[in-house]
């Protein structure tokens, strides 16, 4: 049954056993596919290029370091967002399970709200509506755009982490709660010492999946003007005289960078999923 709150979880990542076998070759094939696209579009662009300009490989070679710096910004933004989101999502998930409705209802509302909202809208809200600096007494702390973007991504991350935590805790058999209660453990002790340690393994694959999604979404920050790989790509393009044939190669360069980063992560996620399944 697709309940409203389940509807907003992340798309399916894990392949079933059958597809798992071909998975090892898959990432290489995916990369090969991207490279093929890259080479073809570059070659075609080259044929339509106006002579007298630098060739496409030269241009890319010249700008690659800067573009990679931009990629680093993406990674930093997504890492910070995940850190903040996880730190906030853990308690939020536990609050959702509290027997006290004064605690659990607001927690559930907050989680559902930030899971249902489109990420781009949340990003806009954070970047446009948050103040550009904080004033504490006479101290003025600037609040730059990229920091607002971090908050903008951390909000849906927090909600998704809360759901992951809630799902993991609820998947622990009720017998564990019963035997802990019979041995006089308090609810807090039970949660901290018995339930949560068992959950960490369960939470890791969906958490890594979420990290991958956040990293992919970090490019959306270019839409609100934050400096990262995509904005730098646009600037590079302008610096090269806005030659239209450069666009396909430049964007495929970005695609390949993200692919190379995401591939080990998804591979490791699958490894963890398999490892966890075998143990059960």
């Amino acid at each position: 049954m697709l309940r409203l709150r389940d509807a907003f979880s992340l798309p399916l990542v894990s392949a079933s056993e059958g597809a798992l076998r071909s998975w090892r070759r898959t990432e290489r094939t995916g990369l090969a596919l991207l490279l093929v696209v890259f080479v073809c579009s570059t070659a075609y662009s080259a044929t339509t290029a106006v002579s007298g300009h630098d060739s496409i490989p030269t241009v890319l070679w010249r700008w690659a370091p800067l573009l990679l710096w931009g990629f680093l910004f993406n990674l930093i933004i997504s890492a910070l967002s995940m850190a903040v989101g996880t730190a906030a999502g853990l308690p939020l998930g536990i609050f959702q399970l509290s027997p006290n409705p004064l605690v659990s209802r607001p927690a559930k509302l907050v989680t559902q709200f930030f899971r249902n909202a489109p990420w781009l809208v949340l990003l806009f809200i954070c970047v446009l509506l948050l103040p550009f600096e904080f004033r504490i007494g006479t101290l003025r702390i600037p609040f730059p755009d990229w920091a607002k973007a971090v908050i903008g991504f951390a909000l849906p991350a927090m909600a998704n982490v809360a759901e992951i935590v809630r799902g993991a805790v609820q998947s622990v058999p009720s017998g564990q709660w019963e035997s802990a209660e019979s041995l006089c453990f308090s609810r807090r002790q039970t949660m901290m010492q018995i339930i949560l340690p068992q959950c960490i393994k369960r939470m890791l694959p969906p958490w890594m999946n979420l990290y991958s999604l956040i990293t992919m979404s970090s490019v959306n920050a270019s839409v609100v003007g934050v400096t990262e790989m995509l904005t730098i790509t646009t600037q590079v393009h302008a610096a090269e005289g806005s030659r239209p044939e450069l666009l396909a190669p430049l964007y495929s360069f970005s695609l390949i960078c993200f692919f190379l980063y995401s591939y080990p992560i998804s591979k490791w996620t699958e490894y963890l999923e398999r490892k966890y399944q075998v143990k059960e």
Partner: protein, 258 residues
């Protein structure tokens, strides 16, 4: 010395001599009446067995005794502690009452020894060295010396169940509840566990055992209660119960399982 308990509530039937006393317990889940007025007494050192078809309320009754499940009406007293009382000290109750479940419910992320040690150290704040020594002794008692460092996943079902018994014993309870502890085990490993319970009973522990094992009940129990439809239909000492069951429902059940 056996305290025979009437199935109908009777005022002041010398409850002070009973260690565990249940009077007219009722429990329903929604519309389903699971326990319809059960009463029984257990004296200190006695072993009683509760048998009956599935769904007759046995497991729920056990869970009412140590307050895992709140009852709707009636009273349960364990050595003077009123389980249904408003000011129930759950910690005191659960220190007196140990329980072993059908699904063992060992903590999978801790070794066998750690499972046994966890509660006395964390909850009762007892000295770690002392608890460890006691844990080793308990492992020896359930005949699992050498498996202290094993994780539950590495142990067989019967071994896990014995660790679960040791874990409950580590709290030094005065009453032990067993909820169909051998139902999930194969016949070979069943014997190990039943033998452990038998030894415990011989040592003088008050035991309330819910079970399907008739052979065990006949040999070990001091008194047997037969439940059906949320009521205690018949009870008596084993010889009388198995030999001359009075109620036709009891006889029908016994003819099916024996």
């Amino acid at each position: 010395m056996t305290e025979l308990a009437p199935s109908r509530p009777e005022p002041s039937a010398a409850p002070s001599r009973a260690f565990v006393s249940l009077r007219d317990v009722h429990k329903s889940f929604g519309h389903v009446q699971v326990i319809n007025g059960m009463s029984l007494d257990v004296a200190r050192g006695q072993t009683i067995c509760i048998i009956g078809p599935s769904g007759s309320g046995k497991s729920t009754l056990i869970r009412c005794i140590n307050a895992l499940v709140p009852m709707n009406s009636g009273s349960i007293t364990v050595d003077g502690i009123e389980v249904n009382g408003p000011k129930l000290d759950k910690l005191a109750l659960r220190r007196k009452v140990g329980i072993v479940f059908q699904q063992y419910n060992l903590f999978p992320h801790k070794t066998a020894l750690q499972n046994i040690m966890m509660a006395p150290v964390t909850v009762l704040k007892q000295d770690k060295a002392e608890v460890e020594a006691r844990a080793h002794a308990l492992m020896k008692k359930v005949r699992l010396s050498g498996k202290e460092a094993s994780y539950p996943g590495e142990l067989s079902g019967g071994q896990q169940q014995r660790v679960a018994i040791a874990r409950a014993l580590a709290m030094r309870p005065e009453v032990m509840l067993f909820d169909e502890v051998t139902a999930a085990l194969d016949p070979e490993t069943k014997k190990e566990v039943l033998f452990t319970i038998q030894e415990l009973a011989k040592d003088g522990m008050t035991c309330i055992v819910v079970t399907h094992e008739m052979g065990f009940a006949r040999e070990v129990a001091d008194h047997i209660y037969f439940t059906e439809g949320g009521l205690i239909v018949e009870h008596g000492p084993p010889a009388e119960f198995f030999g001359h069951a009075k109620d036709p429902r009891t006889r029908e059940f016994l003819s099916q399982v024996l």
